[in-house]
Amino acid sequence: MISLFLLVLGLALVTYLPRVIPLLWLKDLALPAYMKRFLSFIPYAVLASLIFPGVLSSTTTTTSALFGGVVATTLALLRVNLVVVVIGAVFGVYAFQTLL
């Protein structure tokens, strides 16, 4: 429990640093173009790495997880609100597991 709480504080620190350093100290510093592009690709690279293959083992069976992934992708393609994507996928998996 104590070690978990120390982990939370560590996570709070590494989350806060990238948020606060530019606001306080990066106002006038110019990053090299390559670094800027690298940083701008990070969100997409990390999202893709998080989704795959982790999504396949996110529920009790691979098929229900795949179904949830397909529901989420479909809803995301329809450009609905992020909340609808999340709730839709949860209920999609729930329906899949209850009905099949």
């Binding site: 530019p22 701008s40 690279a45 790495s49 998080l50 909340v83 996928a89």
Partner: protein
Amino acid sequence: MATSIQSTSPSSQQSTFRAGLRAGIPVAIGYIPIAIAFGLLAKSFDLPNAITLSMSFFIFAGASQFITVQLLMTGSMYWEIILTTFILNSRHFLMSASLSQRIETTSRKLLATIAFGVTDETFSIASTRKEARSGLFVLGLNTIAFLAWNIGTWIGVFLAFGLPGTLQASMGIALYAMFIGLLVPSLTTRPVFFVASFAIMIQAMLHWGITPFFPISDGIRIIIATVVAAGIGAFVFKEEQVT
């Protein structure tokens, strides 16, 4: 500016802050269910309530809180979780850098407070509103988002008792649905599409090609795939706009 005297008067400050609160209502509406899902997910993995609640209070970053719970449950080392979170949140570096150019506030105390509330969603509002030149406006925006995130977490944690097991098991998809919902709309530009594809290919190679022979944890695989894919992207797409 000529209006600087006026904008420092207490009543004007209050109304700027309140305007920020109002601008953050859509974010708050969006956060509550996701925070509830986070509380439920943590609960379903038997994470102590105090830990779940302090994550939302001290970290305040949706995706990394979800992935932290996930990594804890797959038995990752703490340093791997911290490194993954740091890499995951390095995107806020760019957002804060962009905000630092917009915000005219110079109070370092206020800037340091605003920094805590920089998220994908608050940033997207702050970077599309003219009022966001005022630090107090952004503070209001971040405050309502923070409150919604924490209230949602409390609801999730204390609601989980009554939920049927099958629904709790279905919450496992919530994190991935959120990631999919954030990634898919961005895939319309060529560089983003290719970087995301690189990352997935690298992940597949590591997961099925390397891990069976030489075990690498989930956290390290995510870091390798992210850094390599973003690095390739930065080399290959020199001219194109990223977003």
